[in-house]
C-alpha cells in the first residue's frame, strides 16, 4: 500500500492507495452522504447516493466503491454531482411510503436525514407517476418485523447476515421492480434458520427492519393495579442507553438508568447482572464437573439465545456440549415468580416480569416451549434498549439530569463478573474467576481478551492447563466450531456470542452502530468490572443468601428445575 496525492474539493491531500474516495474525503472533514455503504461490510455500490464528479473526465463515480488515484481531481459538491445525488434520492422516495410520522425510525432514519439535507420537497417526489410497491408486512415475529415497502434495497441486512453471521436468512429475491429482500418462501424468521439476532435491524438505514415492539404491553401492565411489575436490566444496557440521550458510546449510566425505571413506575428495579452471577455459579460448577470427569468438553456457553438457535440449526451434534444453564434473563424470570414471590409475599400470578435486553433474540427466547419453569410464563415482556429509551422519552423524563439511584434489594446486587457478561469474553472471564478460586483458592489475573473476532487464551488452574476460546459473530462461531467438530481443537471452554462484540453490539442496541462504537461500549462495561468492589460471582452477598434460603447449592434439584433447560435440533433449512 503506497501513498498518493489527490485533490478533493480544491484541497490537495495525501491518501493511502487502498482508500476509497469516500474514506479519504471523510479524513478531511467532508461527509459524503450514502445509504448502502457500511464501514463494517463489503462494498455494494447500489444506491448511487455517494456519487462525486471526476473533474478530469466529467464522470460520476460512486465514491464508496472507487479507490483514490494519483492526481485525481474530485468534486463532491459540483452541480453535476449534487443534481445526480438528488435525483437518485428522489427516485428512492418515489417508491417509498414516506409516512415518516408513523415510522419507527422517524428522526433516526438515514433516508429521512439525507432528504432533509438535500432539501427535497414533497412535490419533488410526487412528480413521479410510476408504480409503488404495496406488499404485505411481515409481522409474525416474535423478534423482528419487516416492511418491504420501506426497504430501499441497500442490501446491508443481506450482507451482514451473510458476511458477519454466516446465516443468509435474508436475500434479494425476484428481479427488477419486483425485487424485495425476504426469506425463503417469505417464511417467518422464527420458522427458518434465522437466529433472530437482529443484526439486520442494526444496519437497516430505514424502518424496513425492526423489533416487534412490546412497549404497549408493558404500559398496560404498569397501568394495571393488580399487577406487581418487576423489571430486570441486562448488563450491557448501562453502557449503551446513554447514546439514545446524546451521550458518547460507552458512557456508563447505571444510576440514571435505575432512576428512570423507578420513575416509569416499575415496582421493583432489579439487575440481570445479579442473575449473571447466578449463571456463573451454576455453569461454573457444571464446567467443573465436566472438567473433573473429562466429559462433554469443550464446554460451550448457552446464555446467548441467538447462538442457541443457530446451534440448534447448524450444530445439532454439539448440543450436548452446551451448558444446560439457562440464560441470566430466564434464570432471573423464573426466580421472580418463585423466590421473589416467596420473599415478598406477593402471589406469583400477580407478578409481571419485564426484561430490558440488548437483544431481539430474547423476544424469541422468552416464548420457547421448554422455558416456563415457574408454572407461569417466566418472562412476560422483553424490551430492547431502544424501546426502553422510547418509553423514557414518551413520558418526558429528562434522562441526563436524573440523580443516581440504586437497584432494589434482593436481586439487584452484582459482581463485576456478572456485569462483563454484556461483552464478548466476559462470560469466560467470569466463569474462570470462580472456577479457579474454587479449585485452587487463588484469584485470577485478568484475561484481557480482545473484543473482535475469535480470541483464545491458555491458563493454568492448579496443575491443569485450560484452553478457552471465544468467538463473536456467528460466522466466527462457525469457524471455531468446525474445528471442534473435526476434532482439531483442544479447547476446554468455548464462549459464543451471536452478535459482534457480544451484547454491547446486540440487535436491540442504539442505532446506528459501528465496530468503532462497539469497542467503546465494551470498554465502558469492562471499567465497571474493574471499579466494582465485588468482582467474583460467588462473593455476591445476595447470591449467597439465595442459595442459603432457597436453592440449596449449585446444581441441586431445585436449581436444576428452575435454572437449567434443554435444546432441540432444528432442520438446517
Amino acid at each position: 500500500m503506497s501513498k498518493i496525492n489527490l485533490t478533493i474539493d480544491g484541497q490537495t491531500i495525501e491518501a493511502k492507495s487502498d482508500q476509497s474516495i469516500l474514506e479519504a474525503a471523510r479524513e478531511i472533514g467532508i461527509d459524503i452522504p450514502y445509504l448502502c455503504y457500511h464501514p463494517d461490510l463489503s462494498l455494494h455500490g447500489a444506491c448511487r447516493v455517494c456519487v462525486v464528479e471526476d473533474l478530469e473526465s466529467g464522470r460520476l463515480l460512486a465514491s464508496c466503491a472507487t479507490p483514490v488515484g494519483d492526481g485525481m481531481k474530485i468534486s463532491t459538491r459540483s452541480m453535476k454531482a449534487r443534481k445526480a445525488r438528488r435525483k437518485n434520492v428522489e427516485l428512492l422516495l418515489a417508491n417509498h411510503p414516506n409516512d415518516c410520522l408513523g415510522c419507527d425510525r422517524n428522526r433516526h432514519c438515514e433516508l429521512q436525514d439525507i432528504t432533509y439535507k438535500l432539501g427535497i420537497q414533497k412535490e419533488d417526489v410526487e412528480k413521479y407517476e410510476g408504480d409503488r410497491r404495496e406488499l404485505p408486512l411481515n409481522t409474525v415475529g416474535p423478534a423482528l418485523k419487516r416492511d418491504p415497502n420501506k426497504c430501499i434495497l441497500c442490501g446491508r441486512c443481506v450482507r451482514i447476515c451473510e458476511e458477519i453471521q454466516g446465516v443468509s436468512a435474508l436475500q434479494f429475491t425476484q428481479r427488477g421492480f419486483d425485487s424485495i429482500v425476504t426469506t425463503a418462501f417469505d417464511l417467518p424468521q422464527a420458522e427458518i434458520n434465522c437466529a433472530n439476532c437482529g443484526q439486520c435491524a442494526t444496519v437497516c438505514p430505514v424502518g424496513a427492519l425492526t423489533e416487534m415492539s412490546e412497549i404497549e404491553k408493558v404500559w398496560s401492565a404498569l397501568e394495571d393495579d393488580k399487577k406487581h411489575v418487576v423489571v430486570q436490566t441486562a448488563p450491557s444496557i448501562q453502557a449503551t442507553i446513554g447514546e439514545e440521550f446524546g451521550m458518547d458510546a460507552g458512557t456508563v449510566v447505571t444510576g440514571q438508568l435505575v432512576a428512570a425505571l423507578h420513575r416509569i413506575g416499575f415496582d421493583k428495579v432489579f439487575s440481570t447482572d445479579f442473575a449473571a452471577d447466578l449463571t456463573i455459579l451454576e455453569e461454573g460448577n457444571e464446567f467443573l464437573k465436566r472438567l473433573k470427569g473429562n466429559k462433554k468438553l469443550p464446554h460451550i456457553t448457552s446464555c446467548c439465545p441467538g447462538w442457541v438457535k443457530y446451534a440448534e440449526h447448524n450444530f445439532p451434534d454439539l448440543l450436548n456440549h452446551l451448558s444446560t444453564a439457562k440464560s441470566p434473563m430466564q434464570m432471573f424470570s423464573a426466580l421472580s415468580k418463585t423466590y421473589y414471590s416467596q420473599q415478598s409475599g406477593i402471589d406469583a400470578e400477580d407478578i409481571y416480569t419485564v426484561a430490558v435486553m440488548p437483544c431481539t433474540a430474547k423476544k424469541f427466547e422468552k416464548d420457547r416451549d421448554e422455558i416456563n419453569a415457574s408454572r407461569f410464563k417466566d418472562t412476560d415482556a422483553v424490551l430492547t434498549t431502544r424501546e426502553l429509551a422510547r418509553m423514557i422519552k414518551e413520558i418526558g423524563i429528562d434522562f441526563n439530569s436524573l440523580p443516581d439511584e440504586e437497584f432494589d434489594e434482593l436481586m439487584g446486587e452484582s459482581s463485576g463478573a456478572g456485569t462483563i457478561f454484556g461483552t464478548t469474553g466476559g462470560v469466560t472471564e467470569a466463569a474462570v474467576r470462580t472456577v479457579k478460586e474454587k479449585l485452587t483458592g487463588e484469584p485470577l489475573e485478568r484475561l484481557n481478551l480482545g473484543f473482535r473476532g475469535i480470541n483464545s487464551a491458555e491458563l493454568e488452574i492448579g496443575d491443569r492447563k485450560i484452553k478457552v476460546g471465544i468467538a463473536n459473530g456467528l460466522a466466527n462461531a462457525e469457524k471455531l466450531l468446525n474445528k471442534v467438530r473435526a476434532g482439531e481443537s483442544d479447547y476446554d471452554f468455548i464462549e459464543i456470542m451471536a452478535c459482534p462484540h457480544g451484547c454491547v453490539g446486540g440487535g436491540g442496541q442504539p442505532r446506528p452502530a459501528t465496530n468503532e462504537k462497539k469497542d467503546k461500549r465494551a470498554a465502558g462495561l469492562s471499567n465497571i468490572d474493574v471499579s466494582n468492589e465485588i468482582r467474583k460471582s460467588h462473593e455476591n452477598p445476595q447470591i449467597i443468601k439465595l442459595y442459603e434460603e432457597f436453592l440449596g447449592e449449585p446444581l441441586s434439584g431445585e436449581s436444576h428445575h428452575l435454572l437449567h433447560t434443554k435444546y432441540k435440533a432444528r432442520p438446517k433449512n
Binding site: 429475491t173 427458518i192 432442520p571 438446517k572 433449512n573
Partner: protein
Amino acid sequence: MAEIKEEKLEKYLTPVRKILERYEKKEHYLIPVLQEAQEEYGYLPEEVLKEVASGLDLSLSQVYGVVTFYSQFHQEPRGKNIIRVCMGTACHVRGGDKVLEALKDELNVDSGETTEDLKFTLESVACVGACGLAPVMMVNDNTHGRLTPEKIPEILAKYS
C-alpha cells in the same frame, strides 16, 4: 403415518440427490444443479430446493433468491405442453394479442398459468425469431405461424 410420509419423501428426493452427487459442494454449481433438477421434476418444489440448499451448503434463502431471479426456473408444476405466444413487434402488428386472447379463452388460463389438467402452460415471450410467419406461437419445439384466433382450437387439439 409420519414414517410412511418420511419414506415417500426419501423416494421422491432420490433423483435430486443423485444429481447433487455429481457436483462438488460449491456455490457456483447452483444454477446447473437447479436446471437438472427442473428437468427431472418438471418444476422446482420446495422440498427439492431444500435438498439443493443442503447439498451445496447454501441457505434456503440463497437458493430461493436465485430461483425467483431467473425466469427459466419455475416453482409451480408445468403443463405437458408449453405454449409460447410471440409478442414481438412483427407479431404485435399482425394481431399477436388476439391470438393470445383466443388461447386464454380456449384454455381458460391467464398468461403464465397452467391448465388444471396439467396439459398446457401458456406463456407470452418477446420474440421467437420467426417474424416472417407473424403472428406466431411455439408449442414445445413446434412453430405455428400465420395464426388467426380461429385456427387455435384445431392446433390445440393436436396436443391434447
